[in-house]
């Protein structure tokens, strides 16, 4: 993985008090910290129903939906909290919330 890839934070993985810096400074960019651990439901996109309108992308409050090279929306599960706003807003009902 690149230094800014999804596993970069593991290089500075903090497990105990001794691992932590004395002062609460984070030296890595925030986009490598995974923040989805409390998700209960995950959005599952049925691409056959998707019209690429990108309403899900626009509404996601955590910028957790990206667009792949073919133009399909992709849920980035390292950041998705499972709020369900994308599924609520999707007009063709292409997104279902599936229990983790």
């Amino acid at each position: 993985m690149s230094p800014h890839g999804h596993d970069a934070h593991k290089a500075t993985a903090y497990v105990t008090e001794e691992d932590l810096p004395e002062r609460p400074i984070a030296a890595v960019p925030s986009d490598v910290i995974k923040t989805a651990s409390w998700r209960t439901f995950r959005p599952v996109i049925r691409l056959e129903a998707c019209t690429k309108c990108y309403v899900c992308w626009k509404f996601c409050p955590d910028v957790a939906i990206s667009i792949d090279s073919a133009g399909w929306p992709v849920v980035r599960l390292d950041y998705c909290k499972g709020c369900g706003i994308c599924a609520e807003e999707c007009r063709p009902k292409a997104i279902e919330m599936a229990k983790e």
Partner: protein
Amino acid sequence: MVRMVLSGNHAQSYAAKLARVQVVAAYPITPQTSIVEKLGEMVASGDLPAQYINVESEHSAMQACISAAALGARTYTATSSQGLLLMHELLHWASGARAPVVMGVVNRAIAPPWSIFTDHADTVAQRDTGWIQFYSESNQEVLDTAIMAFRLAEHEDVLLPVMVTEDAFYLSHTVEPVDVPSQDEIDGFLPRRTTRGLLRPGIAGRLGSFTTPDLYAEFRHKIARAMVRSAEVFFEIEDDYHRITGRHHGGPLPTYRVDDADAVLVTMGTATPTARAVVDAMRSHGKKVGLAKLRAFRPFPEKEVRQLAAGVSRIGVLDRSFTFGAAGAAFTEIAASLYGARHRPALRNFVAGLGGRDLTPKVIEGMYKALLKGDGEGVEWPDIKRRMEVVRHG
């Protein structure tokens, strides 16, 4: 060293100047204003080469200090009463960010009813914010403690903010002769800040970022440990200050004539010299009374309280503020310190001197007499005016 005639507030200003503070955040409030006013004069005249930031509130004043400290600057601000309460949120941010900010606080009563006079409720209410707190009895002690505060705050093993308090008007606006060390003496005692700032321009870093339940408590525990270490570090600093200036204010709980005392009163701030005079007067009449000054309220000097209590049968605690629904804060903490101690003296709490009410020798002598008599217990407000007394005196 030069002897000057200074108010407590100007003692704070001169301490900050001798510390060569680099950033001063200023917002006025009575009775603090003359601290930052004097610093403003020093900056304007070029005597103090510092950034002087006129902020729009106390909340912003503390934020300015935290940010400047995070970049490595030595910072100072001052406030009082309502202003300190407005800062409350940022006080937590300062200790959480381990920002070694030093702040002068002039103890003033909290409204309503409006009052500008001495009362410790403003700083006592900040005891859980992670700030070190010192209370002083004279303008000399204010100056010396404020200078030491910078070295304590910035010490590698501490890195916590420090509050240097003084009683409104009794110290803030009363002038006394104060021995002011020379710049050379203080430069030797307090070199330029050596701890690096948390943030550096051009290098990515995030202060105040998110923490999951996995690690939040570990950061809190680090503050708790630093607070404990600060007590030891302060002893070293005060010894060093003594070597340079010849002055020593006696650590976190200096005592007076307690060795064979039957009753000891614990005071904070300017009640202390009055109580000391009462001790001398009562001693001359054969009453075995003594005094302990609670100089550091955070970290609370639990060990010293236990040492004091080991040789005393009755302790009275004079609180110049009250925690509604409980007791005076110093009383509660002294009682807590003694839980489990082998020798536990009888404890009484005197809540008096609120809102600037004079703590006269007569009032304090009454506390000693009540202690020596040994009847009564718990919390008492001895200077409350009651109808019976008005009739008798009126």
